[in-house]
Symmetry: C2
Subunit: 266 residues, 2 copies
C-alpha cells in the first residue's frame, strides 16, 4: 500500500541552491530525495510547500512524498536524519490523506525576515541575517509594513518568475519587532509571489532610507510597476517560519512536535 507521508523539516539554506531540483546545483529537494530513497529503498519524489531560493532558510518546512515502505512514521525522523547532512533535519513525519499536497493544500504561510542592525557586523549572523549598519527605527518600519496588509495586487513587489494566474494576495499580518540588534519582520499571507517578501522588505528599507514615505507605498502598489518599489532584499535574512493546512492530520494539539501547523480558517 502506498502511503502519503508529510515531513516537517528544518534547514539552513546557505549550502543549497534553494528547494527545487536543478540540473547543475545541489538543492534541498535533491538532497532529501537522495537520502530518503536510501532508507525507503525506492526512488522518491517530494512536493514542497514553496520554492525557497538559494540561501533562504526554513525553521519549518512541509514536504510530502509517497512510499511503499513500512517504516512507522515515528521512526522516520531518526532514520532519515542518520542519512541527511547536518543542515537539513526531519523534525516529524505523519501519514496524511491521499489528497494532501504540501503546496496545493497550504492555506497560509508565514515568513520571517531577519535584519542584523548594528554598526558592526556579527560573525554569528553571517548568512543568517541581513547586515544593515544604518540605525533603523522599528516604528517607522512598522508604519511602512502596515501598507502591505490586506488584499492587494502585489505586481509592484515581486520579481519575474513562473507566471501566476493572479497577482492578488491577502496579507493577514506584517509585524516588526526588535530584540537587541536583531529586527524581525513577520509576514503572513495566503500565498506569496516570487521574491515578494524580499521585495517588500527591500521597499520598507528603501522608505527607511528616505527614498519615499510609508504612505507612498499605497500608490506604488496601485501602479503595479516593479521599478517604483525598492530593491530585492538579500536571501540570507529570509526564513520560512510557519505553515497552515486545513487538514488537521491529528496534530493540532501539539503544534511544536506535530509536523504540521493547523488552523481552522473561516
Amino acid at each position: 500500500m502506498m502511503r502519503n507521508i508529510a515531513l516537517k523539516l528544518m534547514y539552513v539554506g546557505t549550502a543549497y541552491h534553494g528547494w527545487q531540483r536543478q540540473k547543475n546545483a545541489m538543492t534541498v529537494q535533491e538532497m532529501l530525495e537522495t537520502c530518503v530513497a536510501k532508507v525507503v529503498k525506492h526512488p522518491v519524489r517530494f512536493t514542497g510547500a514553496g520554492r525557497t531560493d538559494a540561501g533562504v532558510h526554513a525553521e519549518v518546512y512541509i514536504a510530502n512524498f509517497r512510499t511503499s515502505c513500512n517504516i512507522p512514521c515515528d521512526r522516520m525522523p531518526l532514520a532519515f536524519n542518520a542519512r541527511l547532512p547536518g543542515d537539513i533535519v526531519v523534525l516529524a513525519a505523519r501519514q496524511v490523506s491521499e489528497e494532501f499536497n504540501a503546496i496545493g493544500s497550504c492555506l497560509r504561510k508565514e515568513y520571517t525576515y531577519r535584519v542584523y542592525n548594528s554598526r558592526i557586523r556579527n560573525a554569528f549572523y553571517v548568512d543568517r541575517a541581513y547586515f544593515y549598519p544604518k540605525r533603523l527605527d522599528e516604528d517607522f518600519l512598522q508604519d511602512a509594513a502596515n501598507r502591505f496588509v490586506g488584499t492587494h495586487d502585489f505586481s509592484a513587489v515581486r520579481d519575474v518568475g513562473t507566471p501566476t494566474r493572479t497577482n492578488v494576495r491577502t496579507i493577514s499580518y506584517f509585524t516588526v519587532s526588535r530584540s537587541g540588534e536583531l529586527i524581525e519582520l513577520r509576514v503572513c499571507a495566503d500565498g506569496f509571489l516570487y521574491n515578494q517578501v524580499r521585495c517588500m522588505v527591500g521597499t520598507i528599507l528603501y522608505a527607511a532610507e528616505g527614498k519615499f514615505r510609508p504612505e507612498d507605498i499605497d500608490g506604488i502598489l496601485a501602479r503595479k510597476n516593479r521599478t517604483e518599489a525598492g530593491p530585492t532584499a538579500p536571501p540570507e535574512g529570509l526564513y520560512m517560519t510557519k505553515l497552515w493546512y486545513r487538514e488537521p492530520v491529528g496534530l493540532e494539539t501539539d503544534p511544536i512536535d506535530s509536523g504540521l501547523e493547523y488552523a481552522a480558517l473561516d
Copy 2:
C-alpha cells in the same frame, strides 16, 4: 612611534584550526595577521588571549599587536573588517600601555559551553553547540559543576599539551542554565589548562549518564588521574565569552563597546 593596540574580536571557529598559527592549516591568528598587515602596510604579529582549538568560537577575544601606522583606533574596526572574512570581526580597538599583553595581562577568563539538548537535532546549531539527545537535568549538572569550583589541581581534567608550571587553578564560578533546548555552562577561572573546560564538561555529562555521582568528582580531582574523568567534550560547543584585565584602558564605563572587560580584582 610604535603603538601597542588591543583589538576586541569575535569569531566563528568552524572554518579555522584554532587561534594559533600552524604550518599547514589556516588559523584565526594567521588570517588576522594577513588582513591587518594589508591595512597597516607592515607585517604584524598578534598575541592572543588564549589558544582556542579548532572549531572553538569566541564571542569576545582580545589580541594585541604593535604598529607604526597612524590609523586612529576608532577607524580600525571598519578598516580591518573590510579585509577580513565574515566569520572574524573586529568589534573595537584601543591603544594600551607598552606592557599590555593579551595573554600575560589577562586576570580571568569566562568560557561558555553550549549543549543543544533535544531528541532531534537543530540544523541552526550544527557546529555551534554540542548536540546531546538524552534529556539532561540542569540541577544535576549544577551539582556536578559545583565540585570544580575553588582552588584545585586540575590534572585529572586536562589533555596533554604545552607543559605548565603548575596545574593549580582557581574557578570562581561554574553555573548551569537552560533556555528551552539550549543548556549553557559558564565557567570562570584565573586560567585554564589545555582542554580543561571540555574535559570538565565531558566529566559532568559522564556523571549525568550515571557513570559516577557528582560527589565522586572530588576524588577524581584529588587522584589527578586523567583516565578516571569523563571524555573531552567536542569543540563546537565551546565559546570564549569574557575576559578581565587589570588595566582599565579607560574603557570600564562601557564594557559592551569597550574592547576590553575590566574588573578591579581584590
